[in-house]
Amino acid sequence: MSIIQVEHLKSFFKTDEGIVKAVDDVSFELRENEILALVGESGCGKSVTAQTILGLLKSPPAMIEGSIKYHGQELVGLSNKAYHKLRGKEIGMIFQEPMSAFDPLYTVGDQAAEAVAVHSKLNKPEIRDKIIAMFNKVGIPEAENRYDEYPHQMSGGMLQRMLIALTLACDPKVLIADEPTTALDVTIQAQVLNLMRDLQNEFNTSIIFITHDLGVVAELSDRIHVMYAGKIVEKADVVELFDHPKHPYTKGLLASRLKREMKGQILPFIKGTVPRAFEFPEGCRFHPRCPHAMEICKQKDPDPVAFENGHVCSCWLYLKQNKTDGVESQ
């Protein structure tokens, strides 16, 4: 059962320098009780996808087309009022920088209580109890005392856990985690990831996990969608993707991870950078950096090709091969 169904989603921005195609024709689905990872370099549209789902982009300047269905309810073009009921209650989100996600003027407890109070009719002591229980659940020591402390008195890891706690206290069906571990150091990262895994099992929340860290993804997610320059270039289960990466970009990403055997060698990396969003190249957007670029790559955008085990990849390499092999392309 899919809980969120995104089809042909486009989020463009009108700017003075031209139209920025931050998300261009993206389709995917989030299934119940799964952790779906959106992976890609900085600036490839992961966060914009998340913000589009939550209706956080102001239009104008944003222009949003396509369809996002949450439990069959169309979210594109939904009124702000209807969105207020959805945000937090149905779809929650946690952020990259826990330090700046809290208003410095209020205690963490007050802010957590604010989140719960928006959607529930509980009275203040009940909310307080609920928050403290959640704080305990995410492993905050002395939750009772921490409730009345200010964000600047906390460490980043602690704040991130509190953010997770306050988001889950609203009992959302879907959680969008936008690089929740990027700003944390490695030991805390592991703790937060384990915590998210545990909580996902306990609360049956579906999670869209946005990250650029493939190591994190391997540990946590069920399926992976790789994004490049506003498009999803490859979709696969986590094991399948790591074992049989298809797209040259995915291969590049996997190759540029740190491995012990590479000691003393220069790290492999993908040459060049993600092009700026208003000057994406014609054809396949990866072709200027692709080691296998062909003539057709510069002219036409490849269609997605389906492989076994739900593995999908958009690359001319396989389209040509498929054509010669006579396998039907999707």
């Binding site: 207020h84 604010e114 988001t167």
Partner: protein, 362 residues
């Protein structure tokens, strides 16, 4: 950590000598208007026909070289037979000692109970007065009138600023948070209103107050007129601050939990600008005080028999008046005192609350 910030702010504030002096003066001034009825030796409306334009009463301490405590002499009014100018001749036989807690004009203390006890004075005498700042055209005690007039001047500034800052903060925050056409409309409106010269606009608005209104209503009207001009500067700055604050992640976080825009503005955006609001308030109170004074001075503000510092100064409008009765300028000194004090306190607060100056302040 929070304690440190408080400590730093307090330290930085107390380092500012002028700020401290201003603070003390302001506290004294506000205590003064709070107990004005009690401190004033006379009712501000009671007239003494014999003592029109009487110069500040001289207080004597000795009689024939012998110390007998502070006292004033009885006065008889006479005219110079040549110039017909009014002269007061003191009658050294009549001694009126200055006492504390004397009975004088009755008044209602804070409007609660009637009493006639004044802090000091010589009581009600026919041929002697204790006019510390002299008398005015109707023979009223200028000192008592300055005390009472301070009520209007000092509170009009305070309330006017409060209203102006609240309106400015809310309008500015909405303008900055929503952006788009709301922002454009609000900002152009502010620009249009601000392009009018300030004093004529005040006067035009003050003209709208009907002369038949009772003086308390006129007072409220003046306060509203003052704040009508004052909110725009605040709104512009708050808009700018909100433009940068709204990009903060905790605003996004508040949106993500489904918080309403109104709550985000009132709970997260405006409170985060509060240090600025505190400073801008203290710095704009003097402008309001001057504004009230100028409107009253020009005769469109507070009406007799109520009084304010500006209205008191109105008597000193002509040069010949100032030459003959220089003590009529005294209310002006109070305006200067109050305005300077507020400015010094505002400066001290601004320096103390400025987070970018922490290094040299700690």
């Amino acid at each position: 950590m929070k304690g440190n910030t408080e400590l730093r702010v307090r330290k930085a504030f107390f380092k500012h000598k002028l700020g401290i002096i201003g603070m003390i003066i302001l506290i004294l001034l506000y205590l003064m208007i709070l107990f004005a009825d009690f401190l004033a030796p006379y009712n501000y409306q009671s007239t003494k026909r014999d003592f029109t334009f009487s110069e500040p009463t001289k207080i004597h301490w000795r009689k024939d070289g012998e110390f007998i405590g502070p006292h004033v002499y009885g006065m008889t009014k006479s005219r110079d037979p040549v110039t017909f100018a009014v002269k007061y001749v003191k009658d050294e036989e009549k001694i009126y000692p200055i006492r504390i807690f004397v009975r004088g004009d009755t008044y209602k203390f804070w409007g609660l109970w009637e009493t006639d006890i004044h802090l000091f004075g010589i009581g009600l005498q026919d041929d002697a007065v204790l006019y510390l700042f002299g008398g005015d055209r109707f023979g009223r005690d200028l000192f008592s009138r300055v005390l009472i007039g301070g009520r209007v001047s000092l509170t009009a500034g305070l309330i006017g600023t409060l209203i102006a800052v609240v309106i400015g903060a809310v309008v500015g925050a909405f303008s900055g948070y929503y952006g788009g056409w709301i922002d454009v409309v609000i900002q152009r409106l502010i620009e249009i209103l601000r392009s009018f010269p300030r004093i004529p606009l005040w006067l035009a608005l003050a003209m709208l107050l009907p002369p038949t209104w009772p003086s308390t209503t006129v007072y409220l009207g003046i306060v509203i007129v003052l704040s009508f001009i004052g909110w725009m500067g605040v709104a512009r700055v708050i808009r700018g601050m909100v433009l940068s604050l709204r990009e903060k992640e905790y605003i996004l976080a508040a949106q993500v939990i489904g918080q309403s825009n109104f709550k985000i503005i009132t709970k997260h955006l405006i409170p985060n600008t509060v240090t600025y609001l505190v400073v801008v308030s203290t710095l704009s109170i003097p402008g309001m005080i001057l504004g009230e004074s100028s409107i009253s001075f020009l005769g469109l503000g507070i009406k007799e028999p109520m009084t304010s510092w500006g209205l008191l100064l109105k008597q000193a409008q002509s040069l010949s008046d100032i030459q003959a009765h220089p003590w009529l300028m005294i209310p002006g000194l109070f305006i200067i005192l109050a305005v300077l004090s507020f400015n010094f306190v505002g400066d001290a607060l601004r320096d103390a609350l400025d987070p970018y100056r922490t290094v040299d302040k700690v």
